[in-house]
Symmetry: C2
Subunit: 343 residues, 2 copies
């Protein structure tokens, strides 16, 4: 294809073109295949802490536009995103780094606001910011502020979570309404106004993950459905464990205004980004306990059991949606680009 020799916006979408780029260029060239399992955080098995604990590490860069939006800003997003990625390994996030790329001409008052938001979010998550870096590029070579947050967490002894652990019969939970972040950014950027109440869900979910793990210690894995939404997260899970996953559409928590916006714009809400939601896959006998624990957490009041895991029924693992009309459709990863730079 004509454009396959150049980077396209869709290479950053969280969908299938991004997975292909990661596999063909990065994993192939330099990723340590002994420990990289395709999860959002990598557990460093060889570094042993005192009592059987391990270190988990994760990184994310943030290029969201605009820099502030209802419910959050790039600073809160940067802290919560990496806290959540680390948490998916079952680790307690302990230390973050902040790397800024700043555009010449940026108002220092804007930077100050973002720094204050970083401080508040880190304090809420109980994670320390221990090191940083600052680069400045010429006006027009960045879009105000890009932030990288990297971090480490401590995985308690005996915890071994991965998208590779899923088994037929397992149950799929989500910690609340889907699509809020993506639709907020989109409406903000396009000047649309679906609802004065709609805001980004960006939030640190480390306490929610810890609560679920305590109530349902055999939890298979967690993933926060950010870029590419629930569709990407579940398709990654299905591929990692070679299973089918079916979602019951009517069980999925969804705000009316997000549903309307998606219908109007032709978006599949399952492909819309979230920044404060967690998917958990648990064995069936742990589902109720996991759900209760999620619902008891501040950020999980609208949690629900939304689906289940099956043996693979065709030539390749697939994710299905059982629609409200009792039909079944295949839920694919996003192929092109829905809405760039949502995180």
């Amino acid at each position: 294809m004509a454009n396959q020799d150049k980077i396209l916006m869709s290479h950053g979408s969280g969908g299938s073109m991004m997975s292909d780029l990661i596999e063909s260029e990065f994993v192939n060239a330099y990723i340590d295949k002994d420990i990289y399992l395709g999860d959002d955080a990598t557990v460093l098995d060889k570094i042993k802490l005192g009592d059987g604990e391990k270190i988990a590490m994760s990184t994310d860069s943030y290029v969201v536009q605009p820099l502030t939006f209802p419910g959050a800003d790039i600073g809160r997003l940067a802290v919560c995103g990496t806290v959540n990625d680390i948490s998916t390994s079952g680790a307690k996030p302990v230390a973050l780094s902040i790397g800024f790329i700043l555009e010449e001409g940026l108002e220092i008052s804007v930077l100050k606001e973002i720094c204050s938001s970083i401080a508040k979010s880190a304090s809420e998550a109980g994670v320390k910011i221990v090191t940083g870096d600052t680069k400045v590029v010429e006006h027009g070579k960045c879009d105000g502020i890009y932030i990288n947050t990297s971090g480490i967490g401590i995985v308690p002894s005996g915890i071994n979570l991965s998208g590779q652990n899923i088994k037929p019969g397992d149950v799929v939970l989500i910690s609340g309404t889907i699509g809020d972040h993506g639709i907020t950014i989109m409406s903000c950027r396009e000047g649309l106004n679906f609802s004065t109440n709609l805001k980004s869900d960006a939030a640190p979910l480390n306490s929610l993950v810890a609560d679920v793990l305590k109530a349902a210690p055999d939890t298979r894995c967690f993933r926060d459905p950010t870029r590419g939404g629930v569709a990407s997260a579940l398709n990654e899970f299905a591929a990692q464990s070679n299973v089918d996953i079916t979602i019951n559409e009517v069980e999925v928590p969804l705000r009316r205004e997000v549903k309307s916006a998606c219908e109007m714009l032709g978006y599949d809400v399952f492909q819309v980004a979230n920044e404060g939601k967690m998917i958990a896959i648990v064995p069936p006998d742990h589902a109720d306990a996991a759900l209760s624990a999620m619902r008891a957490n501040k950020y999980g009041k609208e949690s629900a059991i939304i689906g289940y895991v099956d043996e693979v029924s065709s030539s390749a693992p697939k994710v299905y949606v059982q629609t409200e009309f009792k039909t079944r459709r295949i839920l694919d990863k996003l192929v092109g680009e829905q809405l760039p730079r949502i995180c």
Copy 2:
């Protein structure tokens, strides 16, 4: 001042405006003051490994232009820079993350080359790349490729290096010629051609640091003089330990072509960036052992003892250069911007 409310290129120079920004915005807002000592890597004292070892963490973003230049490229720079920062704590670097921000339209062949360079440099340094992230921004919102590398290392038991440990009487060593990287980038960017032999010194210095620590276990601290050059590194040290530092200009290893370029362009070579040099401060009775160890390393053949530490002689700690003409001048941090985006 009129411009103090906006970000300027000099906020990224590694000089005094960058230090001021770090102190006034980042350290003030969110950096954990219990463990941040102003060094290039932060040792996480509270995470105890099995046998008294500790974790060190560092981060850096790379926005160098052009992406490839004689001797190295942004990929090698990104790996070596973070490996070297981690090494300054005395840690053995073990795991790196790679976060890409890519510009729409970038040739994938360019990305492939950079990835291959990342792989080679990581392999040379003996460090694993364990996790990553990919963002794509619109054409014109980035300059081809920006990379963040973050990483962790393991600090052996009993090692406690910091710019805060320096004492009067200590000796200053450098692992080779200064200014090579900055002058290479400058000549490359401006289309000047000082010498066909001049190239960036970008190199992983973890083995050199380990060799010095073995030979001179009481070494006070290391720092790689990148942005802001030797001037920034030594001024940071002087401030951290409240001491004066004097450099003997005639002892400083310097390529003829770098010297000429600096004279022609009016640069102070002590403020020019290096990407493969390490400064070590050691007690006087360890100086010979440290020098021999440095010289025996592949990347330290031209190492030299270049100065010494004194009690503070005026109202504030200062760095002096004893010139070849036996006069003494104050060596300040870079105030404005010499050459943007050299790393």
